[in-house]
């Protein structure tokens, strides 16, 4: 900014008579600079996602893609046989996998569907609990989504198809060639469902 548009200094002649005009011109110049600062600041926020990634990669101080690289591990994929099983302790529920077995590769994302039918005239609340064969293979099954994560409520005669999405890790021990994924459906007895605390109720 040159002096012509800045707030006038006190000269030997005193206050310049056109001080209002000088100020108005200066105000316009300053405001345009400040608006540029505001705009670039806003854009700077939007530049953060790419900058953040670039900065982390450049310095190596934070490994932003670590999770992804673990999935693409250097261990080669290999073929494994997968078997699916379902059990119910309750004659009123029909619980079965849509696919009994399939051949898959380690590292693939696998989608399978289980089907459950409530043959009774009453509502059933319950939860499926997984188990694995061989048991130690369970640690290599990484579930992204599963109906077993939550309690389920079935209306009378309701039929529902429910997904399981998982990855079998490539680090699966070499001696395991068949993995069985088995679910057992347990009914939650009526009245044992945990209710949220009521207001005024002391938790002491």
């Amino acid at each position: 900014m040159d002096g012509q548009y800045l707030n006038p200094k006190l000269s030997p002649e005193g206050i310049p008579p056109n001080i209002q005009e000088i100020r108005a011109a200066g105000n316009r110049r300053i405001v345009s600079i400040l608006l540029a600062v505001v705009t670039s600041s806003f854009l700077f926020a939007y530049a953060q996602p790419p900058l953040y990634k670039a900065f982390c990669e450049w310095t190596g101080i934070y490994d932003i893609d670590r999770a992804q690289r673990v999935a693409e591990s250097s261990i080669p994929a290999r073929a494994v046989k997968l078997e699916f099983d379902a059990n119910s302790h309750d004659g009123g529920l029909r619980f079965s996998p849509e696919t009994a077995s399939l051949s898959a590769k380690t590292g693939d994302i696998i989608h399978v569907t289980y089907r459950i039918e409530n043959t009774r005239n009453t509502t059933v609340i319950g939860q499926a609990v997984p188990s694995y064969g061989p048991q130690h293979a369970g640690g290599y099954v990484k579930k992204l989504d599963c109906f077993c994560f939550k309690q389920q409520t079935f209306a009378p005669h309701e039929v529902r198809e429910m997904p399981v999405v998982f990855v079998l890790e490539r680090s699966l021990p070499d001696d395991v060639n068949t993995v069985t994924l088995s679910y057992t459906f347990f009914e939650v007895p009526a009245g044992s469902v945990t209710a949220p605390a009521k207001p005024g109720e002391s938790r002491t």
């Binding site: 800045l6 707030n7 206050i15 100020r23 108005a24 105000n27 608006l35 926020a45 002491t204």
Partner: protein, 535 residues
């Protein structure tokens, strides 16, 4: 009127026809004094609203267990309390001081952009309504804490959208206000008043306004990204789509840390006027004060991740942010020592403004020291999200910003109203505030050190006693603030006539105009006497 009064430079009502009266006068006003008054009243109303919310919080924490509110509502209260106090009370209060005092201090007829000034103010009530009304929408208000961290802020109901829009509007208001203040200070000073002869309050606001225009748009960007993540399928912060929730924390605190100094710096400015006036000495170390303000403003942009030590930032980062944060203690220390040295061998008197300034000095120093404790990574990992942090920032925000605002209020009230306030009531207000503030917040240090987490409506038995003390203190503090209302109404209605310069130690151009300050002042630039400089 002189022919030189051209449009755009300033507003001159005398040139106009009949002026609107009643409500329309306030809606249409472009006068910096009217707008300053409206900012101050607005901030006081919001202060009471935010204060009522904090009393709901403290009532719930009076004893262990859930007594009065549900956890979701408790979270909404603490979120709105913070947003309202930061954006609705403290910031508009100091913008109000800036509007009233900066043109008077630098000898300008009005703010540089008088119409934009009106708009800056009138954006605030809609934003305040959006924020407070969000309590009543389905799902309630935002309950994330004022930091609005995803993933929770991506999942919340429409109250979150209302908070985001309110932040947009408040941000626009502060950006326009800041542009106005910077332009006024840089370009409207009376001839002869160099930057280094300018009153310190103007310096603190100049730096604050730069911090605002650089950091507010970043917050606006961050909340806009949140909004598009919520509704338009983007994944800036949503991990399910490849975004990074920690990135939001970086962006938020890149705004949020300068925001801390946006609140603190104008408070420093007010105190730098009050302490010299009641010590009857010039401010000690004016130039070092200016450099300290600039240094604080600059460093504040490079310390943001000290709020994020537990997010898994690398050791290099932790060390850098720890040392950089501690560096801020140096310019802040310069300021504290300069205020103390100003009082050294001064002819001190203890009217209400001085009492609040001294209260500020003592309590702000405590808050600053606990801030240094929290700056240490190893300690912070233990204290993160505990009541120690709550105690720390209330010492800085309440005892820092609010006490300083009260010092400024009592100091300039005679200039605004033309009457002296009731000194005994003012002193009563100070002592009640000082005592109850410490009863409310000092025990929270102990609670935090013992491990009580913040933002939880319930707590373990061993925290019961200190929480009860804290709640008693907060109710005492809250209700003693109503005294201000009494004092201000009394002073507006009458009282001893105030002279143009009611404080014999006060310096600066604002004391050369009569009390109450006429509607129009300094239409022609006043003569500036450098000996009167350095408020």
């Amino acid at each position: 009127m002189q022919a030189t009064h051209t449009a755009g430079a300033a507003d001159h009502h005398a040139d106009h026809g009949p002026q609107p009266t009643g409500l329309m006068r306030w809606i249409t006003t472009t006068n910096h004094k009217d707008i300053g008054t409206m900012y101050l009243w607005f901030s006081f109303v919001m202060f009471l609203v935010g204060g009522a919310m904090s009393l709901i919080i403290r009532a719930e924490l009076l004893s262990p267990g859930l007594q009065y509110v549900q956890p979701e509502f408790y979270n909404q209260m603490l979120t709105l309390h913070a947003l309202i106090m930061v954006f609705g009370a403290i910031m508009p209060a100091f913008v109000g001081f800036a509007n009233w005092m900066i043109p008077l201090m630098i000898g300008a007829p009005d703010m540089a952009f008088a119409r934009m000034n009106n708009w800056s103010f009138w954006l605030l009530p809609p934003a305040a309504i959006l924020l407070t009304a969000s309590i009543f929408v389905p799902g309630g208000a935002a309950g994330t804490g004022w930091t609005l961290y995803p993933p929770l802020s991506i999942q919340m109901g429409m109250g979150m959208d209302m908070a985001i829009f309110a932040i947009h509007i408040l941000g626009m208001s502060s950006i326009m206000g800041s542009i106005n203040i910077i332009t006024t200070i840089l370009n409207m000073r009376t001839p002869g008043m160099d930057l280094m002869k300018m009153p310190l309050f103007c310096w603190t606001w100049l730096v604050t306004a730069f911090l605002l225009i650089a950091s507010m748009p970043i917050l606006a960007g961050a909340v806009t990204m949140l909004l598009t993540d919520r509704h338009f399928g983007t994944s800036f912060f949503s991990a399910a789509g490849g975004g990074d929730p920690v990135l939001f924390q970086h962006i938020f605190w890149f705004f949020g840390h300068p925001e801390v100094y946006i609140i603190a710096l104008p408070a420093f400015g007010v105190v730098s006027h009050v302490i010299p006036a009641f010590s009857r000495k010039q401010l000690f170390g004016y130039a070092s004060m200016v450099y300290a303000i600039a240094a604080i403003g600059l460093i504040s942009f490079f310390v943001w991740a000290h709020h994020m030590y537990v997010t898994g930032i690398p050791l290099t980062g932790q060390l850098y942010f720890m040392y950089a944060t501690m560096l801020i203690a140096i310019p802040t220390g310069v300021k504290v020592f300069n205020w103390v040295t100003t009082m050294w061998r001064g002819s001190l008197s203890f009217e209400t403004p001085m009492l609040f300034a001294l209260g500020f000095l003592v309590l702000f120093t405590i808050g600053g020291l606990t801030g240094l404790v929290l700056a240490m990574t190893a300690v912070d990992i233990q204290l993160q999200d505990t009541y120690y942090v709550v105690a720390h920032f209330h010492y800085v925000m309440v005892a820092g910003a609010l006490f300083s605002a009260y010092a400024g209020l009592y100091y300039w009230l005679p200039k605004w109203t033309g009457h002296m306030y009731n000194e005994s009531l003012g002193k009563l207000h100070f002592w009640l505030s000082m005592i109850f503030f410490n009863i409310a917040f000092f025990p929270q240090h102990f609670l935090g050190l013992a491990g009580m987490p913040r933002r939880i409506p319930d707590y373990a038995q061993q925290f019961a006693d200190f929480n009860m003390i804290s709640t008693i203190g907060s109710f005492g503090f809250g209700f003693s603030q109503l005294l201000v209302l009494v004092v201000v109404f009394q002073t507006m209605k009458g009282g001893a006539k105030a002279e143009a310069r009611p404080w014999d130690g006060a310096r600066g151009l604002e004391w050369t105009v009569p009390s109450p300050a006429p509607h129009h002042t300094f239409e022609d630039p006043p003569a500036f006497n450098p000996a009167e400089a350095h408020g």
